[in-house]
Amino acid sequence: MTQLALVIDLNVCVGCHACVTSCKEWNTSGVAGFLSDDNPYGKDPTGTFFNRVQTFEVGEYPNTQTVHFPKSCLHCEDPPCVPVCPTGASYKREEDGIVLVDYDKCIGCKYCAWACPYGVREIDEHRHVMTKCTLCVDRIYDESLPAAERKPACVMACPTSARLFGDIHDPESAASKAIQESGGYQLMPEWGTSPANHYLPRHKKEIKVREEDLERVDNPLKVDGRLPKPALKSPSLDDVTSW
C-alpha cells in the first residue's frame, strides 16, 4: 500500500520560508477555495497556513545550534483526527495514505484539531471549515504538468532540497532510502500516531585531515620526502630565488 509523505532534512533547511509562501500561493489559488488572510499588512496579521517554519535554539550559549523546523500535517498512518470526526469529513485515503478534509462535509466543530497533538490543522475563519496540508493532492496527480513537477508546492520551492517527497512504503524510493540511511525519525512517537512524514536528524559535519592524506603511507621511493624543503637560511620565494 502506498503512503505518500515528506521527508525533511534538518541539516539542510535554512529557514527561508519559501515552502510556506509557495504552499500558501498554491493552495489559496486552487478550486477548493482561498485560504484566509486578515490584516496581512496590518497590526495583527492572521491567516490560514498549511505549513509553518519554526525556529528552535538548541544548547547553552555559546555552544548553540539553530534548528529550523518546518511543520505541516504529518499524514499519520494511524491518524487520531480521523475517527473523532462526527461527519466523516476528515478521512485518510486508502490509495495513497493522504489525510484529507472534505470541505463540503465539514461542519467546523474543531474536534479534529483538538484530537491532533501536532497542531497542524487550522480552521479557516472565513470558510468555517477545517483545513490542512493536502500534500498538494491537486498537483501531484495532474498529468498536464511535466512529470518532474508533480510534487507538492513546498518541495518544488525548497532552494536547498531539504524536502523529499515520495512513497515511504516503497523501500526503493528516495524518501525511504533517506529515512533508512540517515536515521529518519517521527515526531512525538509517544502517542502511537505513526506519522508518515519523517525528519532527518542533524549530524556533526567536520573535516578530518589525516597524515596519510598529506604523505602516502606506502612511499616506496621516498619521493614525497624529496619535496622541496628549503633550509632555513635558503632564500624564500619572496626574495629572488634560484628555483
Binding site: D44, P86, G88, P117, G119, E122, Y185, W191
Partner: protein, 322 residues
C-alpha cells in the same frame, strides 16, 4: 484549551435536564415499589418533563453556536461507529424524545393502562429514557476522555464527574421544583441532591489531585525530535496570531486559574448545600431555588476550568512569536 461558551452551556444545561428527568423517574419507580408516597399533583410529571426538555433544548441550541456550518449538523449522525461526538448527537435527540413521550404519557394518563408485564407505558418509556440518559453522560464524557494526549481529560473520572455533576444539579432543580409544585417530595429530592453533590465533590477532588500530579508525556524534545535537554523556541514562524495560538491557550494567569478553582469549589459544593439545608429547615422555596442557581453558576465555572486546565501538546510548538 480556550473554553468555548457554547460547549460550557451545552454540557452544563443538558446535565441539569438529564438529572431532572432521572429524578422524576426515580420518584415514579420508588412510588410504584411503595418506598415513598408519589406526587398528588397531576401536573408534577408533565411540567417537570417540560422543564427538563427546556434545559435540553437550550443546551442543544447552544451547541449549534460552536459549529462553523450549523446547517450541515445533520451529517454528524453518520460516524457513530468511531466518533463519540457523533454518538452524542444521536443519543441526545433520542433521549429528548423519551423525555417528551414520558411527559406526554403522564399528561394523557397512560399510567392507568398496563401494557407489558403489568407495567404501564410511562414506566417503560422512562426506563428507556434512563438508559439513554446514562449513555448520554457516557458520550459527553467520552468526547473528552477519549483524547489520550489531553492527559487532564484522559481518565474515567471525566465521565464519572459529568454523570455526578449532571445528576447533582438536576436533583437540586428537582428539589426547588418540588418545593413549589409538590412539597411532599422536597426531602426526597434534597436527600439525593446532597448525596450526589457529595459524590461529585469526591470525584472532582480526585481529578483535581490527579491533574496536579500529571507529568506531561510530550516535551520539546519529542516534539521536534532533538534529544538535547535545553531547547528554546526562538520563533513560532509568524508574527501575529493564528488558530493554533487562539484555540489552545486560555490566556489567563495562574492566579486567575486558582481563583476560578476555589470559586467553583465553593459555589458547587458548600454554598448550595448550606442553602438547601436552610431552605429545608425554614421551608422557603426561594432558598432551594437559590441553591440550584448558585450550584449552576458554580458548574459554569467548573466547566470553564475543566476546559482551560487541559494543556494541549500542540502548545509546545507555539511558545514564542519571534
Amino acid at each position: 484549551m480556550r473554553p468555548a461558551l457554547s460547549v460550557i452551556l451545552l454540557t452544563t444545561l443538558i446535565g441539569v435536564g438529564q438529572g431532572l428527568f432521572v429524578a422524576l423517574y426515580t420518584v415514579q419507580v420508588f412510588d410504584r415499589i411503595g418506598l415513598i408516597q408519589g406526587p398528588t399533583s397531576p401536573a408534577f410529571y408533565p411540567l417537570g418533563c417540560a422543564i427538563a426538555l427546556a434545559f435540553l433544548a437550550v443546551g442543544l441550541g447552544a451547541s449549534f453556536f460552536h459549529l462553523g456550518h450549523p446547517e450541515r449538523a445533520w451529517r454528524t449522525a453518520t460516524m457513530w461507529r468511531t466518533s463519540w461526538l457523533s454518538r452524542e448527537v444521536i443519543v441526545l435527540p433520542a433521549f429528548m424524545g423519551c423525555v417528551f413521550l414520558y411527559g406526554l404519557g403522564h399528561y394523557l394518563g397512560w399510567t392507568q393502562v398496563p401494557i407489558l408485564a403489568g407495567l404501564d407505558a410511562t414506566l417503560i418509556v422512562g426506563a428507556v429514557g434512563t438508559v439513554l440518559c446514562t449513555l448520554l453522560f457516557l458520550c459527553t464524557g467520552m468526547i473528552y476522555a477519549c483524547l489520550k494526549f489531553l492527559q487532564e481529560w484522559h481518565t474515567p473520572l471525566t465521565v464519572i464527574n459529568y454523570l455526578l455533576f449532571g445528576s447533582a444539579s438536576g436533583l437540586m432543580l428537582a428539589a426547588a421544583y418540588a418545593a413549589i409544585v409538590e412539597p411532599g417530595l422536597v426531602r426526597f429530592f434534597a436527600f439525593w441532591a446532597v448525596g450526589f453533590t457529595l459524590a461529585a465533590l469526591l470525584g472532582r477532588s480526585a481529578s483535581l489531585i490527579r491533574n496536579a500530579h500529571l507529568k506531561p508525556r510530550s516535551s520539546l524534545q519529542t516534539a521536534i525530535g532533538v534529544k538535547h535537554p535545553r531547547i528554546v523556541q526562538s520563533s513560532q514562524g509568524f508574527m501575529g496570531g493564528s488558530f493554533n495560538t487562539r484555540e489552545f491557550f486560555h490566556g489567563m494567569s495562574s492566579a486567575w486559574m486558582r481563583s476560578v478553582k476555589w470559586m467553583f469549589l465553593l459555589a458547587v459544593f458548600p454554598i448550595p448545600l448550606a442553602l438547601l439545608a436552610a431552605g429545608l429547615v425554614r421551608g422557603v422555596p426561594a432558598l432551594l431555588a437559590a441553591a440550584f442557581l448558585v450550584q449552576y453558576a458554580g458548574l459554569l465555572a467548573e466547566r470553564w476550568f475543566f476546559f482551560a486546565q487541559a494543556n494541549h501538546p500542540q502548545n509546545l510548538y507555539y511558545q514564542r512569536i519571534s
